[in-house]
């Protein structure tokens, strides 16, 4: 039979809305998350953090803490080596400061003690002698030539002469002749924007239990988006071999990119090594905000030229991002994504990254894209307003499509942007009447999507059931979609399949659950693993029937003769074959290991209706609709869930969420009270329209869907607010004081 990939059209399981296999565990409280895991003899680990935005550490005196009864270990960066690899060194220095503290909340030392009270008392006994240094938290201030220097000599070779000392990276993308393009425009608008740093805001704080033996064998249980990456980082930092550190991922209480690195795990391992006992660290919410990765904050200039009939003639963006106290390349992705939705003859984006005294940036859902696209989509909207053009028609007129040379270089293959725009145009939301103080905004969004390293093992059990083993934590129902694809390929009932997520010692490498990769890449590997098992089963049946292996085909969950010439045999089902596997050659399994490519980009379009109270500046979201190309939607409920959840995060970013630093460089709102993520009563129902334009890179046509939906809400909300109040804001979040100020300034 033919095992080549093909894009399947008729599905039995894929596309249905089956109950997720971990559902009962998660509605009964039985599921074990990071902080729910305990081992005997466990000590409590606590981390001492910097009260300064920027300071030299002259000395750390841990003697009194070490001497406190009940304290089992105290560690500082002196207990770790200095990794050669620069990015690993940055990760380590972020987990325990070396020489300088670089931001408010930067970890300095840690203790392990018999209980929380002792650990707290021990932290107070650690004496750190600091010399405070000048600090900088704003990106534009950090870019200046005379800005306080966060870290010396961190610029890479891309940074041109003449940049300030905190600029670590520069990038530029685009094609065509900008000046002649702008020359053809009837209207050119140039606008500047800023966006605040936002946090992923997962409800589960980071937590882990480390158990390090005197034989340098260690186990780590933690909440993470990628146990393998945690293993690689921790074994590098601790200087132990990867095989000797087994990392098991707990159930994960949200990540959104923020759990793609380590913060406490190497510290817990170092404490456990020194204490000779298991150590558990659970971060407080305050520490999560102060010391784990928010996204970048940005300052941006966008210039776009348009003809009076709505054709964009040239477009340019300058993006300045800060990603905290360590170099980061997020601006690369913003600069590439900024104009992805448009078919442009002349386009250029430039990006700069600057260091600031803020926590090290971590990935957050489509990292780098939301802010850049917000700026672009705001200017496109204003051009439409000034030229009196329909904003959706203008998007359709300029939309990227198959064959478009994208703003970041490659020529697009099949993409779903036009279909989503047309779906939005046909939808009744776009034509519904609006009342006083109400406005409608729209925005396109884009994300690249990735594949990546993936290993899947699939066993056919002798009772005719199927066990799938994979290595990517299930954040939003992926066990269900993986089981569905296995069932689909094997032709068995969904209920016959159970998918489990295993530890780093039990399966080959799996990249982090990021880049909207899991349903795509793990699904692909699962389908291929199932095909490998089918090949074994067909071989067994061929022997039983005494015919050629090629004369056996797999259909509807059973091996059948390929045609009348192959012979007349009763089909043998998977269960029939499994039951006699020990007699026919032993256990039957399939596996697949791949660095999956061909993920396929994803586009979305969002429509938002808002009402602004002109006397208070309060914005109420009245109606919201998400249109997105999902490729084949394996489990439509969870595809819709990604679209709704991303939209809600983007709405929070647009309206209220922000990192607020005081003049002292300290974070002022490290808690859910003043870091305001949307609550249930803030939001309307979020309607979804799934477009299914198959991805040719996946056997079932699957595309990643998780990240794109956070991108459009920023501009959709800003465009809606500006149309509601008749004046445009150029700053996120659009908190009520800013909106009221704009309304009052308008008069």
């Amino acid at each position: 039979m033919n095992f080549q990939s093909n894009t399947k059209a008729n599905f039995k399981v894929v596309g249905t809305r089956v109950p997720r296999p971990d559902g009962v565990d998660k509605v009964t409280g039985r599921a074990l998350y990071g902080a729910d895991f305990n081992v005997p003899g466990m000590q409590v680990g606590l981390i001492l953090r910097s009260p300064h935005a920027h300071a030299t550490i002259n000395s750390i005196d841990t003697s009194k803490a070490t001497a406190l009864p009940g304290v089992k270990a105290v560690v500082t960066s002196a207990d770790l080596g200095v990794p050669e690899d620069e990015s690993l060194r940055d990760v380590q220095d972020n987990c325990l400061a070396r020489g300088k503290v670089l931001y408010d909340g930067h970890a300095v030392a840690a203790v392990a003690a018999k209980d929380m009270a002792t650990a707290k008392a021990a932290l107070k006994l650690i004496k750190v002698d600091y010399t405070p240094l000048p600090h900088v938290t704003d990106v534009d201030a950090a870019m200046k030539l005379d800005a306080p220097v966060v870290q010396e000599a961190r610029a890479d070779e891309s940074v041109p002469e003449g940049c300030g000392p905190n600029v670590t990276h520069y990038c530029e993308f685009g094609h065509g002749d900008l000046e002649s393009g702008f020359g053809m425009a009837d209207l050119i608008l140039e606008r500047s924007f800023t966006t605040a740093a936002t946090h992923q805001g997962y409800i589960e704080p980071h937590a882990c239990v480390a158990s390090y033996g005197t034989d340098d064998k260690a186990d780590l249980w933690c909440t993470t988006q990628g146990q393998y990456f945690v293993r690689d980082l921790c074994s590098g930092i601790l200087g132990i071999e990867g095989s000797q550190l087994r990392v098991t991922a707990s159930e994960i209480g949200g990540g959104f990119g923020g759990k793609t690195t380590v913060f406490i795990e190497p510290v817990a391992l170092a404490l456990s090594r020194k204490a000779g006992r298991p150590v558990k660290i659970v971060m407080s919410r305050v520490d999560v905000f102060r010391a784990t990765g928010p996204t970048v904050s940005s300052s941006m200039d966008v210039r776009i030229g348009m003809t009076k009939d709505g054709r964009i003639t040239a477009a340019e963006a300058k993006l300045r991002y800060q990603g905290g106290a360590f170099p980061c390349g997020t601006v690369d992705m913003g600069a590439q994504a900024a104009f992805a939705a448009y078919d442009l003859k002349a386009v250029r984006t430039q990006g700069w990254n600057a260091l600031t005294n803020r926590p090290k940036e971590a990935a957050y859902r489509a990292p780098g894209a939301p802010m850049a696209i917000y700026a672009v989509e705001s200017v496109v909207d204003e051009l439409c307003q000034q030229l009196d053009l329909d904003p959706l028609d203008v998007r359709i007129l300029n939309a990227a499509d198959a064959g478009t040379k994208s703003s970041y270089g490659p020529t697009f293959d099949q993409i779903g942007l036009m279909a989503t725009l047309e779906a939005a145009k046909e939808h009744d939301h776009y034509h519904a009447p609006l009342g006083e103080n109400q406005g409608r905004g729209l925005s396109c969004g884009f994300w690249f999507n990735f594949g990546g390293n993936t290993s899947v093992s699939l066993a056919i059990n002798s009772d005719g059931t199927v066990s799938v083993t994979e290595g990517n934590p299930d954040i939003g129902g992926s066990r269900a979609s993986i089981s569905m694809m296995a069932a689909e390929e094997l032709g068995v009932a969904y209920e016959k399949v159970r998918t489990i997520i295993t530890d780093t010692s039990s399966l080959g490498q799996n990249d982090v659950t990021d880049g909207s990769r899991v349903t795509f890449a793990v699904g692909l590997a699962t389908i291929k693993a199932a095909r490998a098992a089918i090949r074994v089963m067909c071989g067994r049946v061929a022997k039983i029937w005494g015919i050629d292996e090629d004369a056996v085909v797999w259909e509807d969950g059973a091996a059948k003769p390929s045609g009348p010439n192959a012979g007349d045999f009763e089909p043998m089902t998977l269960a029939d074959i499994a039951a006699i596997s020990s007699e026919t050659g032993g256990p039957i399994a399939g596996h697949h290991e791949v660095n999956a490519e061909g993920a396929g980009v994803s586009f979305g379009v969002h429509l938002a209706d808002v009402e602004v109270d002109p006397e208070t500046g309060a914005t109420k979201v009245l109606r919201y609709t998400v249109f997105q190309d999902a490729g084949k939607a394996v489990h439509p409920d969870y595809v819709e869930g990604q679209m709704q959840g991303g939209a809600a995060q983007g709405i929070g970013w647009a309206l209220n969420e922000e990192y607020i630093y005081g003049d002292d460089g300290r974070l002022q709102n490290a808690g859910f009270l003043d870091y305001r993520i949307p609550v249930a009563s803030d939001l309307p129902n979020i309607d979804t329209v799934i477009l299914e334009i198959p991805n040719p890179g996946h056997p079932y046509g699957v595309r990643g869907v998780g990240e794109t939906p956070i991108v459009p809400p920023l501009a959709a909300l800003s465009n809606a607010v500006s149309r509601a109040i008749g004046v445009r804001l150029h700053e996120l979040p659009m908190s009520p004081p800013k909106i009221l100020k704009a309304v009052m300034a308008k008069g």
Binding site: C171, Q336, G409, F448, G515
Partner: protein, 81 residues
């Protein structure tokens, strides 16, 4: 020969060219050839690059086949959330 399109900030490191030509039949040969011909590109290649071949983005697959008429675009190594 394969034509490789460089992103803007790499062009200064490759004698100002937007497109460079190298002899390569796959991703790995292409990276090696680029680094040999334009040593200034090596730091970025070592940090990681992705490659778009005929519109599909590959993050680091050495043996991805490249045909002489393929559209090849170098991109920064990408990460997601």
């Amino acid at each position: 020969m394969v034509s490789v399109k460089l992103w803007g900030s790499l062009r200064d490191l490759a004698d100002g060219q937007e497109t460079v030509e190298v002899e390569a039949s796959n991703f790995k040969e292409l990276l090696d050839a680029l680094a040999a011909k334009y040593p200034a590109l090596k730091p970025q290649i070592d940090r990681g690059v992705s490659l778009a071949v005929d519109g599909l983005v590959y993050r680091n697959s050495w043996f991805t086949e490249i045909k002489p008429d393929s559209e090849v675009v170098l991109m920064p190594y990408m990460k997601g959330g």
